[in-house]
Amino acid sequence: MAELTYRDAVAQGIAQEMERDEDVVFLGEDIGAAGGVFKATVGLLDQFGPTRVRDTPIAEQAILGTAMGAAMVGLKPIAEIMFSDFFAVCWDIVANEIAKTRYMTNGQVSLPLVIRTANGGGLRFGAQHSQSIENWAMMIPGLKVVAPSSPADVKGLLAAAIRDPDPVIFFEHKALYPVKGEVPDGEYVDKLGEAKVLVQGDDLTIVALANMVPRAVEAAQRLKDEHGIHATVVDLRSLVPLDTQTIFREVSKTGRLFTVEENPRLCGWGAEISSLVSEELFWDLDAPITRITTPHIPLPAADHLEDMTIPSVDRITDRILKSLG
């Protein structure tokens, strides 16, 4: 084990896969010579050269179309969309082309590709560089959706995504890039579609994703230390495939479910989980499900305002205490 930052784990995960498989190629804006605007891809150009690690113009449709075409003929491209907000300018390629082509062609076409992107708020970038858009991707049939919360998961899930034969949207949380954690040395590959139980408790279950995971863990600690309440925390890690077995198992043990979502409220992933639990686990519930989300607004920029908007440890704790009465 070595201690790495979340951003270094990105580069390590990519390097691991590019070393073992020459079909893996990487393209995006400022990813090569500049090492990425978040410095998550430093060193890859030097290690693999400009034919495999390729800087592009500011042209998101060209980037994702190129990734798709390359995947169609046998490469395993990784494309970077610098900020997830920019998916809005290339959504045709994602939603109409990449997601649907295998199905429409009756299985003639395989698209083993990964689109990495910096997602989420907390850096005071305002409404067009801070969104959590994982639910946009989740609602399109044909896309796998992954969002790691720790450096180890970045390396392992990124490797799994690159090896996966289907298109994967890989949401890195930009507020987590400087966070450090233990990462397994050597070749390390995780599995897509498995949630992880990070904290075990008998009183209630919190389900969280990406940057909401460390906040949920901290809230669980506070509930335990200050109120004697024991929470389970489930890190979803992947929205598609969705590990409903782990969610159901943990919710059925406690009878109470809280989702913590950074996305604005309407059609957030928590709504789907809430619906599934209501349909399939209703008689195991002791209380209504509570969704803790960003309000249904564009994100404000000022630090004070942004902090009031995205679910915080305080808000998570308070909301849970209020629900428990």
């Binding site: 190629v25 034919t51 495999r52 390729r54 592009t56 113009p57 042209a59 449709q61 060209a62 980037i63 994702l64 179309g65 190129t66 990734a67 798709m68 075409g69 390359a70 995947a71 169609m72 003929v73 046998g74 490469l75 491209p77 045709d92 390629i93 109409n96 082309e97 082509t101 295998r102 199905y103 429409m104 062609t105 009756n106 299985g107 003639q108 076409v109 395989s110 083993p112 049939p141 044909g142 034969p165 289907d166 579609g193 598609v240 495939p241 969705l242 590990d243 409903t244 077995q245 599934l276």
Partner: protein, 336 residues
């Protein structure tokens, strides 16, 4: 039997010329059959015929090598046939039968036959230009010599993806050939009314450091020659080409469109320039016998009839297909 060419300086040659004519006949006769099947309500949904534009599909289709990749639009029946996809596969798909190229899951606008290098028909304007680049990137990276060919209409030259793709292909020097089929109408609107330059593709080429290339898209020989030049450039590592083919669709934009917005005189002028009788006459001028030409026409007619019957008699697609092939494991599961 075919006679020797009577004209001199024939750079195309009889074999290629017969192939060009056969492909044009195949496309024309399948499209006419598709039109008839619509009227009989055997084909549902929409469809975009390329009657009048066959010389482009034939010229590029014959010039391409088996390993090359082609990408086309929803007006793609001709381009798919020109790569060697089966008529039964095409007509069966249009008719929603299990013998269709896509098992009935794609329909008229998405014909694809990967085994023939026909890498798909794309129904969102502009999307496939960047996608064609990706295949070209592989050929460049692996140094395997394939060319990626991308067909699109004049209307595509006004969408962002066109500019992103041509620009980045030029920067990356990709072996990709962009082919604009300028049939004068984006859909129901004349391209000249919505485009700031006279030649929608060719006049934009200089913005990407590419030469301006215009070709008579109704002359299969001319198209074949320009294709050969562009492919040689691409295979030599000298980068992309942007080619504008002037042509005309004889029908409206799609099934729903009788094309009444077009002046009668213009339609008449272009019907007179129909690529197929034109090419037939050229073959006769080059000494190819009426008999050889007629044999091609009859062979194709028989093949179209057989494909029609085969498709009509084929069962509808199996219901199992509905939940198949969202993922590479063949399934559709999004949860455990």
């Amino acid at each position: 039997m075919a006679k020797k060419p009577t004209r001199k300086n024939d750079d195309i040659g009889e074999d290629i010329r017969l192939a060009l004519y056969r492909t044009q006949q195949e496309v024309r006769q399948v499209e006419k059959r598709a039109y008839d099947l619509f009227l009989q309500n055997m084909i549902k949904g929409t469809s975009h015929l390329c009657i009048g534009q066959e010389a482009i599909a034939a010229g590029f289709g014959v010039a391409m090598k088996p390993g090359d990749w082609s990408f086309c639009t929803y007006r793609g029946h001709g381009h798919t046939l020109a790569r060697g996809a089966s008529m039964t596969g095409v007509l069966g798909e249009l008719m929603g039968r299990d013998c269709g190229l896509l098992g009935g899951k794609g329909g008229s606008m998405h014909l694809t036959d990967v085994t023939k290098g026909a890498m798909g028909s794309y129904a969102i304007i502009g999307a496939h230009l960047p996608i064609a680049m990706g295949a070209a990137w592989k050929a460049q990276y692996k140094k395997t010599g394939e060319v990626s060919v991308c067909f699109f209409g004049d209307g595509t030259t006004n969408i962002g993806a066109f500019h992103e793709a041509v620009s980045m292909s030029a920067v990356w020097k990709l072996p990709v050939v962009f082919v604009c089929e300028n049939n004068l109408y984006m859909e129901y609107t004349a391209i000249g009314d919505v485009t700031p330059v006279k030649n929608p593709a060719a006049d934009r080429a200089s913005a990407y450091g590419l030469p301006s290339i215009i070709v008579d898209g109704n002359d299969a020989d001319a198209v074949y020659r320009v294709a050969q030049e562009a492919f040689a450039k691409a295979r030599a590592g000298d980068g992309p080409s942007l080619i504008e083919c002037k042509t005309y669709r004889h029908h409206g934009h799609s099934r729903a469109d009788p094309g009444k917005y077009r002046p009668d005189a213009e339609v008449k002028e272009w019907i007179a320039k129909d690529p197929i009788p034109f090419y037939r006459q050229r073959m006769l001028d080059f000494g190819i016998s009426e008999e050889a030409i007629k044999t091609i026409e009859d062979d194709v007619a028989k093949a179209v009839n057989a494909a029609t019957e085969e498709s009509k008699n084929a069962p509808p697609p199996s219901e199992d297909l509905i939940l198949k092939d969202v993922w590479a494991d063949g399934g559709w599961a999004w949860r455990n």
